[in-house]
Subunit: 174 residues, 2 copies
């Protein structure tokens, strides 16, 4: 598929309710278990997504539009959420994510981006030259990747409980 802002937004709009459906009514065991040392639980992923709404996507879009390649993005802190989420319930994190995502999509809409603007270039501190449309495509794939992670982490909690069926369940060995 070629990038189209409206199609990308369809996914970005649905992620809060997808996560809400997946996580809001679950026992703590599903929410707080991870895949082993150095890995993230669904709870950690939620905090990471919130931090992205605050510091990554729209702020980087503004840097591209205002400064182009002249100014590198701030590096993204992949561990900030361990401190920031502390003491918050899953419901609070889901509500925060939904609210921030809604605000960011309003900001995006208010930008009234043209096809030419979507081709504007910026500079990633590690990856080099990127475009605005690539940033938004990455926002979409990043959402989908973390939904996949959340369900994979939950599936693995039953890795032993499925018995012989393990052979038919590739998600358990990813």
């Amino acid at each position: 598929m070629e990038f189209q802002l409206e199609q990308a937004t369809e996914i970005l709009r649905s992620t809060p309710s997808t996560l809400n459906s997946l996580l809001r009514h679950l026992s703590d065991a599903w929410i707080f278990h991870n895949e082993g040392p150095e890995s993230w639980s669904p709870y950690d992923v939620l905090g990471h997504l919130i931090h992205g709404e605050e510091t990554d996507w729209i702020p980087r879009a503004k840097i591209i539009l205002e400064d182009g390649e002249a100014r590198s993005f701030e590096p993204f802190d992949r561990f900030a959420m361990f401190e920031k989420s502390r003491g918050k319930s899953v419901a609070e994190l889901l509500d925060t994510f939904e609210s921030l995502r809604g605000l960011n999509l309003k900001e995006l809409e208010a930008m009234h981006l043209t096809a030419a603007e979507l081709e504007k270039r910026g500079r990633h501190p590690e990856l080099g030259v990127v475009t605005l449309s690539q940033l938004f495509a990455t926002w979409v794939v990043h959402d989908l990747g973390h939904i996949a992670q959340v369900v994979r982490v939950m599936a693995k909690q039953y890795g032993d409980e499925v018995g012989q069926w393990r052979a038919y369940l590739p998600i358990l060995v990813k």
Copy 2:
């Protein structure tokens, strides 16, 4: 996690609304593209999940409870949905899945399964001896695996659109 029927049911209950949130409001391009030859689109996955509700989980649970190891399950047809879904809209498939899942969870609840019954054994035509709790754990992991598949297939549609960010998005190479 050790298998507990109530915790398993939390996931089984949420899958229809998760898929609804993910898929109902998307453009056809997200719904009908797959990962290449012999692979499934989100639309195909929905049909597969419906066929599972009709022929797999609860019917197999009844075989275990009634006949134990004496009677092998019917083999599951992994391709039945290509014929059965023909001509149906995504909205129809989502509604059908939600309705069948609801009925199956009511049947499950009405079984009032005891811990001893959950340990009852049955015979899988290829895998051999399995237990009722393993069947239900597999139902959960099967749901989660297909949610992961749906989001992976959608993510891959933007495999080229993310540019250099590809290096940070493991979902694109799975």
